[in-house]
Symmetry: C2
Subunit: 216 residues, 2 copies
Amino acid sequence: MNFGILLFDGVEELDFVGPWEMLTMWSKVAGGPEHCLTVSEASTSVTCAKGLSVHAHFTFDNCPSLDYLLVPGGQGTRREVTNQALLDFVMRQAGHCRAILSVCTGSFILHAAGLLEGRKATTHWASLDRLRELGDVDVVEARYVRDGVIWSAAGVSAGMDLMLAFIAYTAGEAAAGQVQCQSEYYPSDMRYGLFHEDEQAPEYLRDPKWKTTSSS
Amino acid sequence: MNFGILLFDGVEELDFVGPWEMLTMWSKVAGGPEHCLTVSEASTSVTCAKGLSVHAHFTFDNCPSLDYLLVPGGQGTRREVTNQALLDFVMRQAGHCRAILSVCTGSFILHAAGLLEGRKATTHWASLDRLRELGDVDVVEARYVRDGVIWSAAGVSAGMDLMLAFIAYTAGEAAAGQVQCQSEYYPSDMRYGLFHEDEQAPEYLRDPKWKTTSSS
């Protein structure tokens, strides 16, 4: 099993490292995919949105056939939605992937690759209206959402919740529990400030007992 | 203001990228440190514990004087606690830093650099006994703990809670709220499996209303 994470200049750091941590922990302690890898268009370093410099394991040309692909977000997505080489790569891999996942504004890349038409999907709270304006996406304000083989998460940190849910769905709650335990992902529920009461806050956040939604 | 994050081979990915995201978001949206940087011993790529390849911005030789230093954990700490060049770097920077922070087993590096004697500190749940065995640390089972200028977090993902608390302490709750909002850090409270009921679970996790502790 090959699980790939797409990188590009301007990718938001936590968008991909959060899921990467959960994914690779799954492989280490609970029988997750044998090969977890990052892939970018060229073999140069990727400069992330906040300045971290990372080197992808593969390029579009030498990347193995993927079983799962995760597309993170970040400011760079605004450029990459018109990068035909990147969209071709996503479409080619999607042809045989068992699931495609996005985090934050990574959903705009899935849309540009033709994968979100008529689908439920979500994105960073500040980009929800922009996703709605595309016209053909059923936008939900959830922490994450699954619609068939397409999974999408809300902004930045939501990728970790997405990946744990994906592991639970794919390999069972015990496997997700092992990953959660080893990564000590029992986050504080502390809310600084009052954004959760703001009218711009996504629906799941305004509901103190937020639920995720999914449809098959 | 310079805020540095220490990197080394075998550093756990989320240990440093979680805080990095919160830190750089603070700089971007709420007046955080002007310079956020990563630093490693040599100018080669750092291979993280789960295989991600990153390139630090500075080496020990050309790193600017830091106001804040964060030391992440990971398997690599077991080697680095005897790396005198790294310990010298930490001690040298600690001499003028306003605060030193650790995540996960990064606390063992702080200890090896002589910074934890008689201090309250914490680490990954699976390393709590090992930290106690050092004999001179007041080990607490909290999500994070502050003891004067020394802050430490529990395992891996706890670095994000630590950094938000650090921002709130340093710059006020409104600043922390802006960072939390932009990184959409409103995590799910979903617990997969039953580790929270296990006797090995850290105290904060067994208490459903866990509190952090701090002493001045």
